[in-house]
C-alpha cells in the first residue's frame, strides 16, 4: 500500500474582514486501496497542528504538512509517502497519455518521505524470517 498526497499552496486572503494566512492544504490523500478516511486524517492533523480547521486539512507551512504525512505513514505502518504539489501534478498530467504515465507522475515528480521505523521493522522482519 503506497501512500500519495496531493497538496496545494493557498496564498493569504481577506475573507469578509477576516485575514486568512497563507497555508498548505491537502487536496487528495490516498493509498492503493482508495482515499484515506477523512475523520482519521483530521484526528492526525489536529495532533500535528491543533489549529487545523474541521473543514479543511491545512497547515501553516510545508514542514508541518510533511510532518502530518509522516505521522499518517507511521500510524498506518507504511514504508513511505509521496507528496506532490498541485502544480507538479498538473505538469505530470500535461505530459501523461494513459494509465501507465498517470501512475508514473508521483514517482517522477513527487517528493518521497520515508518512514524509518517501518523500514527498520522491515529489515528485522526479514532477519527473523531467514
Amino acid at each position: 500500500m503506497a501512500l500519495k498526497l496531493i497538496y496545494h499552496f493557498q496564498t493569504s486572503q481577506n475573507h469578509e474582514d477576516e485575514f486568512v494566512p497563507a497555508s498548505y492544504g491537502v487536496v487528495y490523500f490516498f493509498s492503493n486501496e482508495g482515499f484515506l478516511d477523512k475523520d482519521f486524517l483530521k484526528e492526525i492533523a489536529r495532533s500535528v497542528n491543533p489549529g487545523t480547521s474541521d473543514e479543511h486539512l491545512t497547515f501553516p507551512n510545508l514542514d508541518d504538512l510533511k510532518g502530518f504525512a509522516l505521522r499518517v505513514c507511521q500510524e498506518l505502518s507504511e514504508r513511505d509517502v509521496r507528496l506532490i504539489s498541485v502544480q507538479d501534478y498538473n505538469i505530470g498530467i500535461d505530459s501523461a497519455k494513459d494509465l501507465v504515465s498517470l501512475r508514473g507522475i508521483f514517482n517522477k515528480y513527487g517528493e518521497l518521505i520515508q518512514n524509518e521505523s517501518a523500514k527498520k521493522k522491515g529489515i528485522m522482519a526479514k532477519f527473523f524470517k531467514s
Binding site: 498530467i93 494509465l99 498517470l102
Partner: protein, 573 residues
C-alpha cells in the same frame, strides 16, 4: 444481440447508452458496426467536433478524410432504416481527446476548484485532458464548426435531430459541469467581463459577490454556446440534455488509476444519486472490467433502452395513474422541486427522513415541467415546493395543481410578500377552509375536493431535533400505501409499477421491487407488506433468494447479487 450481451462482450466503439463512436474506427467498418445495434434502438452519434478541423477555419465532413464522412454515415444509417440523433457537446466532453476541442484551439487546460488539471481516463484507459471552453479561440472554432455543420445538414437535406449535451461529473455529493473552470483563460475572460460591468457600476465588494459574478459570467458564456448552436442548427435542434459521465470526476481519475480501482459499491452510489436527482448518465468512460456484473445490470435496468427513448422525447412519459400499461414504469411517491433547494431539504431533515423511510421513492427535480403530459403522468405523486424558489408563474401553476386535485406541500419560508398576498387572496376567493395546527412548526392544511395543500414554515425545522417527527406525521397524513423495507444502506432498491393482467383482477396494481447488493458482504432485506400487499413471485434472482414469511418477505442477497420481487397491491378490507 441485446444491449446486456453487448455490454458483457464490450465493444469500444459502442461504449454504452446506444452511442456510436464513428471516429474511433475506419469508415469501412461503420456499416458492420451499425448493424450490431438492435434494430429498434435509436443510434446516438456524439460529434467529435474537433476531429473535423482541417485547419483553423476549414471543416471537413469527408472531403479529405473518410473517417470524417458524416454523409456516408448518414447514408448507411438510413439505408438500413436506422433512426439516429447527433449529440453535440455544449461543454468539454471527457470521452474525446482534448475534451473534443480541435488541436488549434486547445490552449488552456481546464482546472477544478483546487487548481487540479481536469483529466479523465477513458474506456481504454487513455488519459483525455480537458481544455477550457473559456479560451476565446474555442468559441471561434466552435461557432465555425456549427456553421459548417448546419450548412452540411441543409445541403444534404438531413433532418435527423441534433441534441446539445452539457456534461457533468459527480463528486462530493454534487454534480459539476465540465464547463465550469478556474483556469487562466477563465480568469482572463472574467476580468474582461468585470471591466464591461464596471460601466454598469457592478463591482466585486466581497468574496460572496465575486463568487456570484463568476457564476454570472460562466452562465453567460454557457448561454453563448447554447444559443449559437440553437440558432445555427435551426429546426434540427432539439434542446439540451444534461448528462452525468460516470467515472469522470478528478477523484474518479485517481481512484481508477490505483490498483484496486473504483468499486462497484461506489459506482452504485453515484448511479442511484443520479436516479434520485433525475439526471441521466453515460457509462461511456467505463472499461469492460468496471462494467462487469452488477453495474451493467443496474445501468441496463434503470438507464436502458426505454428510459433513453423517454429522455430524448422519443416516447411520451408513461403514467401510473392514467391508464397503467402492462409494462413496469418507475414508481415514486414524492417530487421535490427546486434547483437550489437541496440545502433546505437537508437542513429540514426531509432528505434523511425520506432516505430512511421511503428510500428510492422520491425524486429531486431541478425544473418544474408544467405541461399536460407531465401533469397527467405524475398526478399521483405528492409535490413539494420551496417558497424561496417560487415566482408568479410557478406559484400559479402550483395552485392550479392543487385545484386539479393534487397533493401539494409548500414550505412558505422565503415566499415573497407578493406571493404570500396572492396565496391569501386565493384561499379567501375559493372559500377554502383552513385547518391550522401547531406541531413542531406552524402548519395549515387546506382541502379542495381531492386536492390537499399543506403550507408549513420550514425554517423552524432547521436543525430541529424533532424535524423527522414532523415529516413522519406529514406522510402519515397522506396515508401512503407502501410496503416497509428494512435494509442496509449499501443495498440499493428501485420501485416500479404496472397494471394488472386479466388473471390478477383482485389487485389494484402490481409493484416490483428491484434489489441490488454491490458490496462484498451478504445482506438481508426484510419487507413487511402490512395487509396491503401480497407477495407474488421473485424474478431473475442472481446470487439471491427470497422466502415468504407471515409478515412479508425475507431476502438474502450475496455479494454482487440482485433480485426482483413482485407484489400485488390490494385494498384493505
Amino acid at each position: 444481440m441485446t444491449y446486456l450481451e453487448n455490454s458483457k462482450t464490450f465493444d469500444p466503439l459502442r461504449p454504452g447508452e446506444q452511442w456510436f463512436y464513428y471516429w474511433k474506427t475506419s469508415a469501412v467498418l461503420w456499416e458492420s458496426q451499425i448493424l450490431q445495434f438492435p434494430k429498434d434502438e435509436i443510434v446516438f452519434l456524439p460529434l467529435y467536433w474537433g476531429l473535423h478541423a482541417e485547419s483553423v477555419t476549414n471543416w471537413d465532413f469527408g472531403q479529405t478524410l473518410p473517417e470524417r464522412d458524416l454523409l456516408r454515415l448518414h447514408e448507411i444509417l438510413t439505408q438500413h432504416g436506422r433512426k439516429y440523433c447527433w449529440i453535440i457537446p455544449l461543454s468539454p466532453a471527457p470521452f474525446f481527446p482534448n475534451g473534443g476541442i480541435s488541436a488549434s484551439a486547445a490552449r488552456s487546460l481546464s482546472l477544478d476548484k483546487n487548481g487540479v488539471q481536469l483529466a479523465v481516463l477513458d474506456h481504454e484507459m487513455n488519459l483525455n485532458k480537458i481544455f477550457s471552453f473559456f479560451e476565446p479561440k474555442v468559441f471561434g472554432a466552435y461557432a465555425g464548426f456549427l456553421k459548417e455543420f448546419g450548412h452540411f445538414l441543409r445541403k444534404n437535406k438531413i433532418k435527423s435531430p441534433v441534441w446539445g449535451s452539457e456534461l457533468f461529473y459527480y463528486q462530493d455529493g454534487k454534480n459539476h459541469s465540465f464547463f465550469d473552470d478556474q483556469s487562466l483563460a477563465f480568469e482572463q475572460g472574467f476580468s474582461r467581463f468585470l471591466k464591461a460591468l464596471h460601466s454598469e457600476n457592478l463591482e466585486i465588494s466581497d468574496a460572496k459577490s465575486e463568487k456570484h459574478l463568476k457564476q454570472k459570467y460562466t452562465d453567460e458564456v454557457k448561454k453563448l454556446f447554447t444559443t449559437t448552436a440553437e440558432e445555427t442548427l435551426g429546426s434540427t435542434w432539439m434542446g439540451v440534455q444534461k448528462i452525468v459521465i460516470l467515472g469522470a470526476s478528478p477523484k474518479d481519475t485517481i481512484l481508477r488509476s490505483i490498483p484496486s480501482g473504483k468499486s462497484q459499491l461506489e459506482y452504485a452510489k453515484d448511479l442511484f444519486y443520479q436516479l434520485t436527482n433525475s439526471f441521466f448518465i453515460s457509462s461511456a468512460l467505463l472499461t469492460a472490467e468496471e462494467k462487469k456484473d452488477l453495474l451493467s445490470s443496474m445501468i441496463v435496468e434503470n438507464f436502458g433502452h426505454k428510459e433513453i427513448q423517454q429522455k430524448y422525447n422519443l416516447e411520451p412519459p408513461q403514467s401510473y395513474n392514467q391508464g397503467l400499461s402492462q409494462d413496469f414504469v418507475p414508481y415514486s411517491v414524492i417530487d421535490l422541486f427546486g434547483s437550489t433547494s437541496r440545502g433546505s431539504f437537508t437542513s429540514t431533515k426531509l432528505l434523511s427522513y425520506l432516505h430512511s423511510n421511503l428510500k428510492s421513492l422520491y425524486t429531486l427535480q431541478a425544473e418544474f415541467p408544467f405541461h399536460q403530459e407531465w401533469i397527467d403522468a405524475n398526478q399521483a405523486r405528492i409535490k413539494l415546493f420551496n417558497g424561496a424558489e417560487l415566482h408568479r408563474r410557478t406559484f400559479s401553476q402550483l395552485l392550479k395543481l392543487f385545484m386539479m386535485g393534487q397533493r401539494i406541500l409548500l414550505d412558505r419560508t422565503g415566499l415573497s410578500e407578493d406571493l404570500e398576498k396572492k396565496l391569501q387572496i386565493f384561499l379567501v376567493e375559493n372559500n377554502i377552509k383552513i385547518q391550522s395546527v401547531n406541531f413542531i412548526t406552524s402548519i395549515e392544511i387546506c382541502e379542495l375536493g381531492e386536492g390537499v395543500l399543506i403550507i408549513f414554515q420550514g425554517d423552524r425545522l432547521n436543525e430541529n431535533p424533532q424535524a423527522e417527527l414532523f415529516w413522519r406525521q406529514i406522510f402519515k397524513f397522506f396515508d401512503l400505501s407502501q410496503p416497509e423495507v428494512t435494509m442496509d444502506p449499501d443495498v440499493f432498491s428501485v420501485w416500479k409499477i404496472r397494471a394488472t393482467s386479466p388473471h390478477e383482477l383482485s389487485y389494484l396494481n402490481v409493484r416490483r421491487l428491484n434489489l441490488y447488493n454491490p458490496t462484498s458482504y451478504k445482506k438481508i432485506v426484510t419487507i413487511r407488506t402490512h395487509k396491503h400487499f401480497a407477495f407474488m413471485k421473485m424474478i431473475d434472482p442472481s446470487r439471491a433468494n427470497a422466502k415468504s414469511t407471515p409478515s412479508g418477505v425475507d431476502v438474502e442477497i450475496l455479494p454482487q447479487g440482485k433480485i426482483a420481487l413482485d407484489f400485488g397491491h390490494y385494498e384493505d378490507t
